[in-house]
């Protein structure tokens, strides 16, 4: 097992190697650790590398494989975004506030992966508390795009996306509140899936905007996304917004013909501001669907254009409430140099949070405050109803909606840090799916100037099967998923 092979090694192939005893989990894990020691200095995708734990879990996985009791994810090294709780292992949210925090329990996703014998290789860097689109808001360091070190990997799951693309893990889990899985997947040339809200438990995911947050896989291809979703999806009594349903085998949708499926192309997603190369690549991708027998027609989602305003009212409002818990009393950073309670609280939050987190707490507090609640928060919730209704109506006519994932390819580090509004515009195509609660996936669909382009597919609530079916059909008809960065 050579470290150089890791960037192209999928979960499915790795599982085959382990099952046929061509490689052990220990060999695979060591190869990934070698790869990390070689490239991590330039990528910086990890807040923590859990080497000792990985070696121990790999050893346990080998024992399990030997008994013939292995699962597809047994023994395969993965990274978790550092906002998912891991018992006794630092979970920082890339914030000074939680720099020393050691969770006393595992998130449900962590537990499900561990139960199947997964190997945790480390915790992935993110924009502080998952607020951002470039991973530059990490309080520790920015992550670099494996395709071009001067470019951002996207965010907020920039660490997980970069780690998968650079071969520092076989797959990763990210969280997506307004595009935080799909946008970095797009920038890093990999597959990123945000499931229907409620399909994956949020228990143990450090809360940002609870009505929008959803965990999902970042993988090298669509098959891997289906495999990982099989394990993490399902009802959880610990999350009251988790949907009770029987989890299907998501891989069953792969390889089914897409002939006759109806795809809508919303004209609002091809407006000015979309990079010409991105528009062209997506148009070529649309013709691939047509060639495979899908029927494609233009449609309109006019209320979608208000998604950004809705998102930047609802998400900060929920965040301002969720982040009220950081008071420097029970856990986390605490300003030591003052004795009075209120002063200490002010100081703890002033020093513990970074600029973007403070901006969003302020924005949310403002939108919820007396005199502004109706004009901002309530108004946004009503427009949310309209956006959701618009998608419901679209899915009466179409099986899927196809758009670019992002208006541009990955931008340069520092290019948008001084202007929050410019940074926010990155997620205009991904936010509507969170607002409506529907599943969406980004798959690689081109390369412009050496940087990957992402294609977004959205389907109706709980229609992950159709989503994966279409994404897989597209992937198999093209070769973009076989491109890897040269590092």
């Amino acid at each position: 097992m050579h470290a150089e092979n890791i960037p192209s090694l999928t979960v499915r192939k790795a599982a085959d190697l382990l099952a046929s005893r061509e490689a052990s989990s220990t060999e695979l894990t060591n190869a990934v650790l070698n790869r990390i020691s070689r490239v991590e200095e330039t990528i910086r995708a990890f807040v923590t590398v859990t080497k000792d734990m990985a070696i121990k879990q790999a050893d346990q996985a080998d024992a399990r494989i030997a008994t013939g009791n292995a699962h597809q994810l047994t023994g395969i090294p993965m990274q978790l975004k550092d906002n998912m709780c891991t018992r006794g292992i630092s979970t920082t949210c890339s914030s000074l506030m939680l720099k020393t925090y050691l969770p006393t329990y595992d998130a449900t996703v962590t537990k499900r992966l561990f139960d199947e014998g997964a190997v945790l290789i480390g915790k992935g860097n993110l924009d502080e508390f998952a607020m951002g689109s470039s991973t530059e808001n990490s309080a520790f360091f920015p992550t670099h795009n494996p395709w071009d070190g001067e470019r951002v990997p996207g965010g907020s799951s920039g660490g997980p996306a970069a780690a998968v693309a650079a071969g520092e893990c076989i797959y990763a889990l990210g969280s997506d509140t307004g595009g935080s899985i799909r946008q970095p997947a797009s920038f890093c040339g990999i597959v990123g899936l945000k499931p229907t809200y409620g399909v994956v438990s949020r228990y143990g995911l450090v809360a940002f905007a609870s009505s929008l947050d959803q965990i999902g896989p970042l993988t090298k291809d669509v098959t891997d996304a289906a495999i990982v979703l099989n394990t993490i999806a399902g009802h959880d009594p610990h999350d009251s917004t988790s949907i009770p349903f029987d989890v299907p085998d998501y891989t069953a949708a792969l390889g089914k013909e897409i002939k006759g499926l109806k795809i809508g192309i919303p004209k609002e997603y091809f407006v000015e501001g979309v990079q010409p190369e991105v528009r062209d690549a997506v148009n070529v991708a649309i013709s691939v669907f047509e060639n495979l027998g899908a029927s494609v027609s233009e449609t309109s989602l006019p209320t979608s254009s208000h998604a950004m305003a809705v998102y930047y009212i609802i998400a900060p409002s929920e965040a301002s409430a969720n982040l009220a818990r950081y008071d420097g009393v029970k856990y986390g950073y605490s300003a030591a140099d003052t004795g009075r309670m209120w002063d200490a609280l002010d100081k703890t939050r002033q020093d513990g949070f970074g600029p973007e987190v403070k901006r969003r707490i302020m924005l949310g507090t403002y939108a919820l405050s007396t005199g502004y609640y109706d004009a901002y928060y309530l108004k946004a919730q009503k427009v949310r109803t309209l956006i959701r209704r618009e998608f419901d109506q679209a899915f009466d006519k179409f099986d899927a909606i196809v758009t670019p994932t992002t208006p541009t390819v990955g931008f340069k580090l520092g290019e948008k840090t001084s202007d929050p509004v410019q940074m926010y515009l990155n997620d205009i195509f991904t936010q509507p799916a969170n607002i409506a609660g529907i599943p969406a996936i980004s798959v690689p669909c081109g390369i412009a100037d050496g940087l990957p382009i992402g294609l977004q597919i959205m389907t109706n609530h709980m229609a992950e099967d159709t989503l994966l079916q279409l994404a897989y059909a597209y992937e198999q008809a093209t070769e973009w998923h076989l491109e890897h960065p040269q590092i």
Binding site: G198, H306, V329, F353, Y366, Q381, T385
Partner: protein, 95 residues
């Protein structure tokens, strides 16, 4: 709409967020620019439209109230900034 410095200070107080004068001024500019983006919502007719809180269509989710062991005290106390004996120490609330 432009916020005043006093408005920013008031919101910072509500959020219990200490803020220097420089931070207040930067925040005033940035928040004002962001609020400007929200103006587009005024064009949307939301008469008789119910608000959506979240998209999962679930209501009053209950589970059995079963007795389970609490998480280990030692691990919880390990995270606390100030500990005294087996307790989390807090700052004086009354003076």
């Amino acid at each position: 709409m432009r916020l005043t410095s006093d408005e920013v200070k008031h919101v910072a107080h509500l959020a219990r967020l200490g803020m220097s004068d420089d931070e207040t001024e930067l925040m005033r500019d940035q928040l004002s620019n962001i609020l400007e983006q929200f103006k587009s919502l005024e064009q949307v007719d939301t008469k008789n439209i119910e608000p959506t809180g979240h998209s999962a269509n679930l209501q009053s989710v209950m589970r059995d109230d079963t007795v389970e062991p609490s998480r280990p005290k030692k691990e919880i106390l390990k995270n606390a900034p100030q500990v005294e004996d087996e307790f989390i120490r807090i700052r004086a609330v009354l003076e």
